[in-house]
């Protein structure tokens, strides 16, 4: 009744090709953005913003990156965390070389280094695919993780072996470092995620996105149609690693604050991001957000939510339960709904469209 396309006429091609052809979707998007921009900082306390919303935004961006590679192009990568690490470390090097340049610019630029490394490790994808490629990306994971610890140049020869996030300001407000408030960091994250999601959306709906999907569905047929596999696969690696790199820089500079940099970018993180993509929905941008929200909030919910409900749960048990639950859910989703939460969202919208007369 409220979610109808009846009466919304499309009179030109641009309107017909729109990402959100329904007026209700556009209003919905505006409402969500409004909540994110005004509602969350108004209602949420610092804990909620710093340890729920910021991780959610960071992981969403990383999941979008991996989704471009795995969901849209069909190339499996187990090295996302390593590419995130490249972003974080190159952002750190850049900010020590150019202290005067705005940190947001540097975060965006550091993604480019990650993209370059991603293309380098994507090169084997031209000869190998499937499981073989998954193993090849593990090479990136282990090599880069090793480099973050063993190459002192990367962390400026610090005795601690960790990178320190310096204080950087925007319009006089500190946005990184110890004195930045969660709200300002949240706004920076939100801005970056919104802009980059818009960018990703345009990419996957455009010519490049089409060629990625053709490669995913059947690479030989795509080649016959004139799509250059080399270009499609390497751009997928580049764009995917760019997103991962920006997410990694955000992770260290806007969420963690430095110290842990050498032990967060592990294979565990790579797997977690892969799970976000699987549970959220392969080949769906909105699914990346759903998956990130789900996987990122699950440990917090178990750790703080269940005791609040009266179920006693220690930290260690919560961790085990998280592992079992994530494992079981992956299998459940693969069996019941291979397209993940995004597909459930789509079904809900379809039901709303025909409600209250489903036939």
């Amino acid at each position: 009744m409220f979610y109808r396309e009846a009466g919304q006429y499309k009179t030109n091609y641009a309107a017909d090709m729109a990402v959100f052809p329904l007026r209700q979707d556009r209003i919905g998007l505006a409402v969500i953005l409004g909540i994110a921009l005004v509602g969350v900082p108004l209602i949420g306390n610092d804990f909620f913003i710093a340890s729920v919303m910021i991780p959610f935004l960071v992981f969403s961006l990383a999941a979008i990156g991996l989704n471009i590679l795995t969901g849209y192009t069909g190339l499996i990568s187990l090295g996302t965390a390593a590419f995130m690490g490249v972003g974080a470390y190159s952002c750190y090097k850049l900010t020590t070389f150019f202290p005067g340049v705005n940190i947001i610019v540097l975060i965006l630029v550091s993604g480019l280094f990650s993209a370059a490394i991603g293309v380098l490790f994507g090169l084997p994808s031209l000869r190998i695919k499937g499981f073989y490629l998954a193993v090849a990306t593990l090479a990136a994971q282990f090599f880069l993780q090793w480099a973050f610890v063993r190459v002192p140049w990367l962390f400026n020869y610090n005795a601690s072996g960790a990178i320190e996030v310096p204080q950087r300001t925007l319009f006089g407000l500190p946005i990184t470092g110890a004195s930045a408030t969660p709200e300002t960091r949240y706004f920076v994250c939100l801005g970056l995620v919104v802009v980059l999601t818009w960018f990703a959306s345009n990419l996957v709906h455009g010519k490049l996105g089409r060629s990625w999907m053709a490669v995913r569905d059947m690479d030989i047929a795509a080649e016959l149609m004139g799509i250059k596999l080399l270009n499609a696969k390497l751009t997928a690696f580049a764009v995917s690693s760019y997103f991962a790199g920006v997410a990694g820089a955000m992770m260290i500079f806007l969420w963690y604050g430095g110290g842990e940099a050498n032990d967060v970018f592990t294979i565990r993180l790579s797997f977690n991001i892969l799970f976000m993509v699987i549970i959220g929905g392969l080949g769906s941008l909105i699914g990346s957000f759903f998956g990130a929200a789900f996987i990122a909030s699950l440990p917090t919910i178990l750790k703080f939510g269940l005791p609040a409900l009266g179920v006693p749960l220690t930290g260690a048990t919560a961790e085990h339960v998280t592992f079992m639950l994530v494992g079981a859910l992956i299998i459940f989703f693969l069996i019941v709904e291979p397209h993940g939460l995004a597909r459930l969202w789509q079904i809900a919208k379809q039901k709303l469209r025909t409600w209250p007369f489903p036939y």
């Binding site: 593990l138 090479a139 090599f143 699987i278 592992f323 494992g327 079981a328 693969l334």
Partner: protein, 304 residues
């Protein structure tokens, strides 16, 4: 290298031993991949889980050999469960979906194993299983090469197991059925082979291999979930040897094992050490550039 031939021999021996253990994990992968086309990422965690179950049962007061039998029972139950809960509903799905499902199995087993047996490292029950201890010192090449007896035992047991598996695959009814299923699910079904039964058998066999690997590996170091990372080493072994070849798994394992030990020993210190964590992958990647199907793998010819 030439100045200290005894050190070289020692390094090669250590590489050989870890190569055997990599090969054993890779063997579990190959078994399952051959017979069902599933790339089983969970094989590494199955090794940990089997070893942990064995030690955990022993710590709960079960006699050692009864614990081995009970662990085999657990692995069988695991195989049946995986077949019922995961594989049967996912039959006919793309390979990549099944691959991701084994990630789910991995994570479930990590959580399950830790919550039942605890996450702390445990001592493998070497004495109770009458596994040899101590070392033999060989005087060769003007120095002393020390061989751990447990390593020799591991090599012998591994070769025996591989021989048994090869005979099993080649000469028994079930072995033939397994090869038929590997060739084509549909054709195997149409001649009356029960796919479900075959899957249980294959996963149980992989479980047995996992238990033996777990015992051998646990005897060298503690039994803990840190082995999980070591188990990932089996992946370069696989791409080196080819996914479908048992000899490939063995040769690949030995090449990777020796290669990474030599690399770590001679070139590791030059660039900061600890290169063992990625050297294996680069050796495998190097091979991939020349032979994408691995040393002994089947060449896949694609048509539209």
């Amino acid at each position: 290298m030439a100045q200290a031939p005894d050190l070289l021999a020692q390094t090669i021996w250590e590489g050989l031993v870890s190569g055997v253990l990599y090969a054993l994990i890779a063997l579990g992968f190959v078994l399952i991949f051959k017979a069902s086309g599933v790339f089983n990422f969970a094989q590494g965690i199955m090794v940990v889980f089997a070893a942990l179950t064995l030690v955990g049962l022993y710590e709960k007061g079960v006699p050692a050999f009864l614990a081995v039998i009970l662990t085999l029972g657990v692995m069988f139950a695991l195989a049946v469960t995986i077949e019922r809960v995961v594989l049967r509903p996912l039959v006919n799905q793309p390979d990549i979906i099944l691959f991701m499902a084994t990630f789910g199995i991995t994570y479930f087993l990590i959580g399950f194993g830790e919550s039942v047996f605890g996450g702390s490292p445990k001592q493998m029950i070497t004495d109770q299983l009458y596994l040899p201890k101590g070392a033999i010192d060989l005087k060769i090449l003007g120095g002393i090469v020390s061989l751990q007896k447990i390593d020799i035992a591991a090599a012998i047991i591994a070769s025996l197991m591989i021989a048994v598996l090869a005979l099993f695959f080649q000469y028994t009814r079930i072995g033939r059925a397994l090869r038929a299923v590997a060739d084509s699910h549909k054709a195997a079904l149409s001649v009356g082979i029960s796919l479900n039964q075959i899957w249980v058998i294959v996963w149980f066999t992989a479980g047995i291999v996992a238990l033996i690997t777990g015992i051998m590996w646990g005897a060298r170091s503690d039994v803990s979930f840190a082995l999980e990372i070591v188990a990932l080493k089996a992946l370069p072994v696989l791409i080196l040897g080819g996914f479908t070849s048992i000899p490939g798994a063995i040769v690949g394992g030995l090449i990777i094992g020796i290669g990474e030990k030599l690399g770590e020993f001679y070139w590791g210190p030059l660039i900061g050490g600890g290169i063992e964590s990625w050297l294996a992958y680069f050796i495998a990647l190097g091979f991939l550039l020349f032979r994408p199907q691995g040393l002994f793998g089947d060449k896949i010819i694609e048509r539209i």
